[in-house]
Symmetry: C2
Subunit: 136 residues, 2 copies
DNA sequence: ACCTGTTGTAACTAGTATAGTTACAGGTTT
DNA sequence: AAACCTGTAACTATACTAGTTACAACAGGT
């Protein structure tokens, strides 16, 4: 199973999108909602900042979204947090002297690409706004 | 990224399906093609045996498929090797006193379920025979 | 000026998963 | 008996995740 960073990122962005009192939005407050450590939150927010999804200023409480929730697809978010592009690992260096070993990697890549593509379509079809709607 | 066991399982089954000389099919031989340790192969084969996909006998070289490659979908194989049902981890115990924290888990489950379902469809659409065809 | 509270990072740690390895009991064949 | 095999338990190296401590730098109030 893939790590929980994608889940945490969605949680953080949801909180920022729905909290009107920005001064309340400290990494400590967010960590209290996510149930993790403030540093974990700040670390993830650093990634989201680099991706241009939000802003913040050192020393000042509060984060601000730079994108409209309806314009942020979960696929874009997935790419922003640099989740794995490959879902399934392929074993290294199968034996090239073997009929199967010689072509298995390319074959598996094809299989996994089709699977990954189907996943991408689902992530593309859902936005942060859809998540917010379901949180009401 | 998910582990490489699914890839190794497909590799093993492909070898068994395409090797006519069964006495050649030792865990050592298979490990040489996959490029891993014979024990890793026997371990995986133990799982596939329990799932009823193949047979073998202690002391005797050779494995035999119990299913027709065209009847074995990659989804069935995936379930057989007990890969993770959930793709993305959801963080534990978000704060129930928070509007977002209270509903985030259920919401994320919905999102991930739709993604997982798309994946299942792709895996269901491909069989071991399809893999064998691509290996030629 | 100082104190408190904040962000942003680096560095370390505990826990866990993966895959490789060693070892060995027990079956089979010659 | 010897050589080979399967099946399994147990240990190890490596890597990743998430939690944690620590601290530099910044902001705002008193």
């Amino acid at each position: 199973m893939v790590n929980s960073r994608f889940s945490v990122a969605i949680h953080i962005l949801s909180l920022i999108a729905t909290t009107s009192d920005k001064s309340q939005l400290t990494s400590d407050f967010i960590a209290g909602s996510v149930n993790t450590n403030p540093v974990v939150v700040r670390r993830m927010i650093g990634v989201l900042k680099k991706a241009g999804l939000l802003t913040s200023q050192p020393g000042i409480a509060g984060y601000e979204l730079l994108v409209e929730p309806k314009d942020l697809t979960l696929l874009a978010l997935y790419h922003a947090i640099d989740g794995p592009e490959q879902l399934f690992a392929i074993h290294d260096e199968p034996n090239p002297d073997c009929t199967v070993g010689r072509k298995i990697q390319r074959t598996l890549e094809g299989v996994y690409t089709s699977v990954w593509h189907a996943m991408e379509e689902q992530l593309q079809a859902q936005t942060l706004q859809d998540v917010l709607d379901q949180l009401r």
